[in-house]
Symmetry: C2
Subunit: 501 residues, 2 copies
C-alpha cells in the first residue's frame, strides 16, 4: 500500500463523513424547527423527512467501498498528523457502530420509539404506566438486540456498548465506583446540608411579575455577555429547553414563567454553555468526527460549568442581582446573598430536571441502575414502577405519589435512549474539575465573574475544551485540561464548600 493510496483513501473517507456531517446539520435545523416553529399539521411529514435524512447519513458512511478505504487509510496512519489520525480512528469507530446493525433493526427501533414516545405522553399526563408498558417492552426488547449487536462488534458488554454511543469509551467500570462513592457521600452530606440550610434565613422570593419580554431581553443580554454572538445564534421558545442547530448557527431555546425569572435565566445560561462549546469547535474539522464535541458528558460539563459553577458563584450572583433590579425594578430580594439562598437550595424532590446539584446525581444513579437491569433482563418492564419507587426511597428517602412523578417523568427510555443518563452526572463532575483547573490558571476569575463577565473562563474553555473537539476521549480531554482523568473529588469539594460550610 503506497502512501499516496492511503492518502487517497483518507480523502475519500473525509468526503463521505463530510457529507454525513452536512446531512446531520440539515437534520439538526429541521429538529429545531419541529420544536419551535412547525405548525402541528407538519409533524407527520417532518418525521418522514428526518427519517430519510437519517437513512442518508447512515448510508454515507456504510458505502460498499468504506471497509477497503478504512483499511487502506489505516495502513498509512503513521503519515497522518495527530488530528487526522484521531479522525481516522473515530471514523473506524463510527463505521463499526453504523455497519453492525441490520437496517431492519434500525427501522424497527425508529418505529417502536416513535410509537412508544407518543403513548408515553398520554401515560405521563394520566399517570397510567400500564398504558405504555407494552410499547416500552417492545422498545427495551429492541434496545437489547441493538446492545447485543454493538457489544459483539465493539468488544464491550451490551450496556457499555449503549453508553459508548453517548460518551465514547466510558462504561460501567468507570462509572459504577464513582456513583457508589457518591451515594456514600450523599448519605452523609445531604442531611448536613439540609440542617445547615435550616439554620439560615429563608430566601426572599422577588415579587414579580416578570414579563416574558423583559425576561427574554435579560436572557439575551446575559447570554451575549457570556460570549454567544447574535451573528451566529438564536434564542427562541420551546416546551422543553434545548441547544440545537449547527456550530455556525447555534440555536438555544427556553420557556418563560411570568411568576419566576430563574427558570428561563438559569436555563438560558445552561444552554449558552452548550452553545459556546459548539461555537468553539475547530472550523477546520467541521463535519468530521474529530471536529465534533467530545460526547454528551463533555457537552454537559460545558453547560454546567456556566450554569452551576460560574453563574451560581457568589460574585456572579451579586452582578446578577443588579441586572435583575435593572430589568424588573428594585426588590429587596435582589442581593447576592439572597439570590444564593434562592438559587442554591438543596432538597429531596421527585423530579430530576428540578433537582439541585447535590441531589441530581441520586436521580441519575437510580436510572443508571434500573436501565442496566432492564438491558440485562434482571428487571422486567412491568416491575419498573415498583423498582423506581423503591430506589427513590433508598437514595433520597422519598416516594413519588404517582408514576407521573416517578418512572414516567423522563422521555429517554420511552424514546429508546438507554445509557444516556450517566452523562449528566459525569458532566457535573467534569464541570467542577474544569472549574478548579480554570481557577488555578485564572487567579482573577472572581473579579470578572463579579462583573457578569465570563470571558476569562470561556477563553480558557475555548482552548482547553472547545478547540480540542474529539481529539481526545473524555478522560484524556480532562487529563490534558486539568492534569488528571475524571476525579469526583473536585465535585464533592465544590459541594462541600457551597453547601456544608
Amino acid at each position: 500500500m503506497s502512501a499516496a493510496a492511503a492518502n487517497d483513501a483518507y480523502d475519500r473517507l473525509t468526503a463521505c463523513f463530510g457529507r454525513r456531517g452536512t446531512i446531520n446539520e440539515a437534520a439538526a435545523v429541521l429538529g429545531w424547527d419541529a420544536a419551535t416553529m412547525m405548525p402541528p399539521g407538519g409533524a407527520v411529514a417532518r418525521g418522514e423527512q428526518l427519517g430519510v435524512l437519517a437513512g442518508l447519513a447512515h448510508a454515507a458512511i456504510t458505502e460498499d467501498e468504506m471497509p477497503d478505504d478504512l483499511a487502506a487509510a489505516e495502513a498509512g496512519i503513521d503519515q497522518l498528523d495527530a488530528w487526522d489520525a484521531a479522525n481516522l480512528r473515530l471514523m473506524r469507530h463510527a463505521h463499526t457502530r453504523a455497519a453492525v446493525l441490520p437496517g431492519a433493526l434500525v427501522e424497527a427501533q425508529a418505529r417502536a420509539n416513535s410509537t412508544c414516545e407518543k403513548i408515553w405522553r398520554e401515560a405521563r399526563r394520566t399517570g397510567d404506566f400500564a398504558l405504555v408498558r407494552e410499547a416500552l417492552d417492545e422498545v427495551i426488547s429492541l434496545v437489547r438486540e441493538q446492545a447485543d449487536g454493538l457489544a459483539g462488534a465493539l468488544g464491550l458488554s451490551p450496556y457499555d456498548a449503549l453508553m459508548d454511543g453517548y460518551q465514547r469509551g466510558i462504561g460501567v467500570a468507570d462509572v459504577g465506583p464513582i456513583f457508589a462513592a457518591y451515594e456514600t457521600f450523599l448519605r452523609d452530606a445531604l442531611p448536613r446540608a439540609e440542617a445547615l440550610q435550616n439554620t439560615r434565613p429563608a430566601p426572599i422570593r422577588p415579587a414579580g411579575p416578570f414579563p416574558a419580554a423583559t425576561q427574554e431581553a435579560l436572557c439575551r443580554r446575559m447570554s451575549g455577555r457570556a460570549g454567544l454572538e447574535a451573528e451566529h445564534s438564536r434564542l427562541d421558545r420551546s416546551a422543553h429547553p434545548f441547544c440545537g442547530g449547527t456550530p455556525t448557527d447555534v440555536r438555544i431555546t427556553t420557556r418563560y414563567d411570568e411568576s419566576d425569572f430563574s427558570q428561563s435565566l438559569m436555563g438560558v445560561m445552561h444552554e449558552t454553555g452548550h452553545a459556546l462549546y459548539e461555537r468553539g469547535l475547530p472550523p477546520g474539522f467541521a463535519r468530521q468526527p474529530v471536529g465534533e464535541a467530545a460526547g454528551m458528558a463533555a457537552h454537559e460539563s460545558q453547560s454546567l460549568i456556566i450554569e452551576m459553577q460560574a453563574c451560581r458563584s457568589e460574585p456572579y450572583l451579586a452582578a446578577m442581582a443588579s441586572e435583575l433590579a435593572a430589568s424588573f425594578g428594585p426588590d429587596a430580594a435582589y442581593t447576592g446573598p439572597n439570590l444564593a439562598r434562592l438559587l442554591r437550595r438543596v432538597g429531596r424532590g421527585f423530579i430530576r430536571v428540578d433537582a439541585d446539584e447535590m441531589t441530581y446525581p441520586a436521580h441519575v444513579i437510580l436510572r443508571f441502575r434500573l436501565e442496566q437491569a432492564l438491558v440485562s433482563g434482571d428487571l422486567a418492564v412491568a416491575d419498573l414502577p415498583g423498582a423506581w419507587n423503591e430506589g427513590m426511597g433508598s437514595l433520597l428517602g422519598v416516594t413519588p405519589p404517582t408514576d407521573t412523578q416517578g418512572c414516567l417523568q423522563d422521555i429517554h427510555w420511552y424514546d429508546g435512549a438507554v445509557g444516556y443518563f450517566p452523562s449528566y452526572t459525569l458532566g457535573a463532575m467534569a464541570a467542577a474539575q474544569l472549574m478548579a483547573a480554570a481557577r488555578r490558571a485564572l487567579p482573577d476569575i472572581d473579579v470578572a465573574l463579579g462583573q457578569a463577565d465570563l470571558a476569562p473562563l470561556v477563553g480558557w474553555l475555548r482552548s482547553h475544551v472547545h478547540a480540542q473537539a474529539s481529539r481526545y476521549g473524555f478522560n484524556d480531554l480532562l487529563r490534558a485540561a486539568t492534569g488528571k482523568p475524571l476525579d469526583p473529588a473536585d465535585f464533592t469539594a465544590h459541594l462541600t464548600a457551597r453547601y456544608l460550610t
Copy 2:
C-alpha cells in the same frame, strides 16, 4: 415483460421519487429558514446543506437502475390508472431532464449562479451593471450549455427547453402570439385607461400609521378567512415575500411598511393563493411528480386569482374597507370605491413587482424577448442595459434613469433562472379565465366576496385546480376546468371591464 414485473418497476420508481420528494421537502424548510430565521453567520453552512440535499435529490432519480425500471414500467402503462400513468410519464420527463446534464455542468452552474447573485446585489445597490457583466456572461454561457443539453434530450428548442423547466409543455409557439396580441391590446388600452382614470377623483390615502403588529393580525385574519388553516401554516417576515414549506406545513412571508397597509395585506393574500394550492394537492400522491403543482404558471394563477381577481373585486374591497376600519380606526379612505381607486390604479413604472395588472405583462414581454435573445446569442450581455431601456421605451414609453430601475432590478437571470418570466403573465391570464369559469359555476360568488368569504371560490379551485395537481399539463388543466385551453380573451375582458368602463 409480465404485468407483475411492470408493477414492481413502477413501485421502485415511486419509492425513488418519494425519496426525492422528501429530500426536497427538507430543502424547502431549510430555504424558508434561511430567509426568515437564520442568523447571518449560518449562511455558508446553509449553502452547503442545500447543495448536498440538491445532489441527493438528483441522485435519487438518476440511479443506475432507473432507465430499466422506467422502460419496464412503461411496458405495462396500460395497466395503470390515469393518475399513475400520468405519474409515470412525468417520471420519465423528470428523469430525462435530470440525467442529461453532466454533473460538472450542474456544479459549474451552482457556483456561477451563486457568485453572480452576490455580485448582483452590490451592482443593483450601486446601479453599476459593469460590475456584474462578467459574472452574468458566465451564467448565461452556462445556461446556453444547459439549454442545448436539455433541447437535445427533449426535442425542443434551447429556449423552449428552459421554459419547460418552469411550465412543462409551454414554449415560444404558445406564448409568442399571445404576448404579441397583448402588446397590441396594451397600446390601445393603456392610454384609454389612464385617460379614464384621470377623469375620476384621486384616491384618498388613509392617514395611518399602520402598526406592524396590527397589520400582521389583519393579514392572519384575512388569510384565515380565505381558508388557510393555522394548523398547517405559518406567516412570518422576510425581505422578499414568498410561499415556501411543504403541503402540510406551508409557510408564507411578507414585510410590513408602517406607512402603507396595502403591501402586506395584498401580498399576504397573494401568497395565501399559492399556499391554498399547496394545501389542496392530493395527499395520496404526495412527493410524486403527479402530486405536485402543475407548474409555475399554474401556481401564479392561484395567487393572482386570490389577489387580483377576488380581493380586488368591488364586493371584496367593500368588505375589506370594514376590516381596515376595525383594525386601524375609522378613516374616510375606507370605502369600497376609494379602495378600488387606490388599489386598482394603472400607471407606467420601471419596476415589475410594483406594476399594476395591466402594465405587468409589458414587463414580462420585455424580459421574454431579451432572454430569448441572450440564449440564442443575438444579444450580448454587454448590450443588455441598452436593449432593456429601448424595450421599456417601446413597450411603456418610459426609460429607467438607472440600471437599478432597469436591467438590474430582478434577481432571476443573475441567479441562472432563464425562461421563468412568462409564467407570471400566463398565470395572470389563466387566473382571469378560471375566475370567469368560477363565476359561471357560482352565480352567488359576489355575495360571498362581499363578506370577505373566499370559501365558494376556493372550493371550486380545490376541485378544478388544486386536487388535479399535475395530472394534466397547463392547457389541459385549463380545458378541464374552463372548457378551453389558455385564452387571453378572458384576461383582456377582465381588464376592459375593470379599467376601461
